[in-house]
């Protein structure tokens, strides 16, 4: 079997040159031929800047058609793409740029100043457009085993790890999704999820592989999404719970019913609450719940709308090319028995960039040990109990307690810190901090300290001073005791 396929964008430009590839609320439209030409041109300009096959190029950008063009341009050159989260701090970007050995950082002009503070070589996307177009040898084939992209995910130990995805990982993810959702030539996909996360990124490859237009919005705005569904033929939307909630509120306010052609609301980022699913059902919105992580190149387990109420709280079953198992303390778990969720399949990363230890500990006999706890019922439906042990999902972003704890306990006035998730009406969860002080310090000072070092969404929104942290006999932090405290005491010192 050949492990090579034709380059997906060039292929689609050949098969369906005049089909729409991307459009925006502002009315910008590109066919596959135009997208191909734009990517080919951008590639020629990058080559002028010295980028060649094997170069490592970071992109720091909110969603845009130009970002899609750049991503395809890098694959035409055969360069590796490193995606930076726009919400991080300069020091976080700096770490990721250095760790990934990026040769160049591309960002829109609005990010130029911040980008330059990382010390990386920077070219703005606007400036790139002014470069001469050099001749280059376009990669007309993609080797499925070759790494194309790196996305950083905060490890449970607090050190971000660069998740490598091969072309094959992205391909299989797109195919697994198509086998689940079906494929129609009338599809148009809107993902308000950031393209620097794998969920948003995956729609770029789906578009090229399926020959399907993307409706590209800079970020999530419920009015824009509703208008796109009602007036611009969008049939599939990726969302996290808070977005679904806002869309339902807007629908209610406007007395609007989505057209029958709207066929999928793909919900990631943890199970949705019952009332939301019931409301979606009343409104005839087909919600596909899903479970996945950066390592699985987007969703790997999904629940169909037919099952969403019958299997309330379940994430569903593994996609056609994927497998799921629950590892108990002694071997594989029985149905209804909780254990670690492990997954396997050709969409799963081979490992972390330059981090053999993390890679080795992430896999067991070819299975990805997710660290998440869950069980399957007697019909094989997955229920996730703890979306990674201790992970806080705030507005769709992952906050790893250990990372925030590391920062806090690095402050000279703090002796010890513990961070847990606190339920929040707007964000789902927010980080809450429990601190043991070394000497007097104000919450304001700690907040300012964090602002220098942590993305906004990672900064605790809720602060508690304690005499000591609850630990068990073996000195392990008992986080559930802190969560009990949060429930008991709704007050806090901020």
């Amino acid at each position: 079997m050949s492990d090579k396929i034709p380059h997906w964008l060039q292929k689609q430009a050949e098969l369906s040159p005049n089909r729409l590839a991307a459009e925006t609320p502002e009315g910008r439209k590109l066919t596959f031929r135009q997208l191909h030409e734009a990517a080919d041109n951008a590639a020629g300009r990058l080559v002028t800047l010295g980028i060649t096959k094997g170069s490592r190029v970071a992109v720091l950008s909110p969603n845009s058609v130009d970002m899609i063009v750049l991503i395809h341009a890098l694959s035409y050159i055969g360069a590796t793409l490193i995606l930076l989260n726009t919400r991080l701090t300069i020091s976080e970007w700096t770490y990721q740029l250095q760790d990934s050995e990026a040769d160049l950082l591309l960002a829109p002009a609005a990010y130029e100043q911040a980008a330059r503070e990382t010390g990386a070589a920077v070219c703005t996307m606007e400036n790139l457009g002014q470069q001469a177009v050099s001749a280059y040898t376009r990669c007309t084939e993609l080797s499925l085993d070759n790494v194309f992209s790196i996305i950083y995910t905060s490890g449970t130990t607090g050190n971000p790890k660069g998740v490598e995805h091969t072309y094959g990982n992205h391909w299989w993810s797109a195919i697994g999704s198509a086998l689940n959702l079906g494929l129609s030539q009338h599809d148009k996909w809107l993902s308000p999820l950031p393209m620097f996360h794998v969920g948003g990124l995956s729609t770029i490859f789906k578009s090229a592989i399926y020959g399907m237009p993307l409706y590209v919005t800079k970020s999530f705005d419920e009015q824009t999404v509703q208008t796109a569904i009602m007036q611009h033929g969008v049939t599939i939307v990726s969302v996290v719970t808070v977005m679904l909630q806002r869309l339902l509120r807007l629908q209610e306010r406007d007395g609007v019913t989505y057209p029958e052609t709207f066929r999928c609301m793909l919900l990631g980022g943890g199970p949705a609450p019952l009332h939301l699913l019931q409301e979606a059902k009343t409104r005839a919105i087909p919600v596909f719940q899903s479970y996945g992580m950066t390592e699985t190149a987007s969703q790997i387990v999904t629940l169909s709308p037919e099952d969403s109420l019958r299997k309330l709280g379940s994430a569903g079953k593994a996609l056609v090319p994927a497998q799921l198992r629950i590892k108990g303390t002694f071997g594989l778990a029985q149905p209804e028995e909780a254990g670690e969720i492990q997954v396997k399949g050709p969409m799963i990363t081979n490992g972390y960039y330059r981090n053999a230890d993390a890679t080795a500990s992430a896999f067991q006999d070819g299975w990805l040990a997710t660290g998440d706890i869950g069980y399957t019922d007697r019909e094989g439906y997955l229920y996730v109990l703890d979306r990674r042990k201790d992970l806080i999902i705030s507005g769709g972003e992952n906050v790893y307690p250990a990372e925030v704890e590391n920062i806090l306990s690095g402050h000279p006035s703090i002796q010890e810190a513990a961070v847990v998730g606190k339920a929040d009406a707007r964000w789902g969860m927010v980080p809450a901090a429990f601190l043991v002080k070394q000497q007097e310090v104000s919450i304001e000072e700690l907040q300012a300290y964090c602002e220098q070092r942590l993305a906004r969404y990672k900064i605790p929104k809720n602060w508690h001073w304690v005499e000591q942290l609850p630990r068990n006999a073996s000195n392990k932090l008992m986080r559930y005791k802190l969560q009990e405290l949060l429930k008991e005491d709704s007050g806090s010192c901020s």
Copy 2:
């Protein structure tokens, strides 16, 4: 990237246990759970007969649900499947059974006597059902690189070659087809093409991979197909030209219009004549013309219905995971320039069983050299000029002149023989023989001689005595001269 996927049938039985997997005109219906259980049972019975992982098992059967069950059963065991064409002679089967080193031959009772004459170990499908079910270790994963099936194709040299297909070849073929035709949960596929050919076989894997029901008919019958479309929800039908023709005639006779949900008539076996495509268009039948061969695990180039009249006679463009090029005498051909059609992609066989020479000569730099002659137009659409040089396609079956010539010239009274295709209203083409005699012999005797050695469709239907065969300076047979003779002289000696 893991090169393993869960076993497609077991997976579908888990994902959609109650979805219909197969039904017949006689009213037999199996869900995916039932198909899985039937295959699992059949596997246990085969194990009782001594079949294990790595065994080589031939199947000689017309299309049936039981044949589908057996094919999945062999993959559950991890055995290799060898498919025999029911239309061949005992000596042809014997050759293929010996060449493929088959351990067992499975066939319905109706074929038992003929099967036994091959000297192979035979078990009838009916008898298999009486065996005890042994415990065995089911293959729950499929390794994409492992060979699953062998289908013999007559080589141009006259020696049949066993085309090996890996699980990956079949998987990629199914995915390439889905990306071309789309995927709907309302699909139901009817393939009257024999499952011992790759076109029919491929629908078995598509069914399991897509979770799609097959409507299984023993062979082609236009009334059965029309009823299946009109009354049993069939949405896709695989056909060759002669079948499409008969379906159109029946439609006309019955004054029937296919429902709008009927979405694809997948046409293989050479381009269709204009009047047929025009008639299909008038009747709003979406015809997808296609080009492929055993080596490509079913179609690899297709033409969409929108293009069928605009690009009359074209086979279309290569599927998303595939590539196409035309090799001229000096490097790659320009548009409109004829040359050898070469294709590449992960659905293409790695080669022929125990035939390194044929394998080596079939590939050039990773491209399959089809031996077919064609060109692409300026928009990249493929036109096939000679579907393999000299190949005769008769009623959808390939007849290789060299194979028939070898038999004829083996007769003691024949000095030299040449076989070419002759246009035929019913079969598209039939073989025509040109013979130089050594001594007197009757056509009747030659026909009887062929009947012992060749499948019925390979036997010449048209006979000519000549003084000598037309040869060029380097003594190469000039077949086109014979074809000119056929056109000039409509008479023949039979």
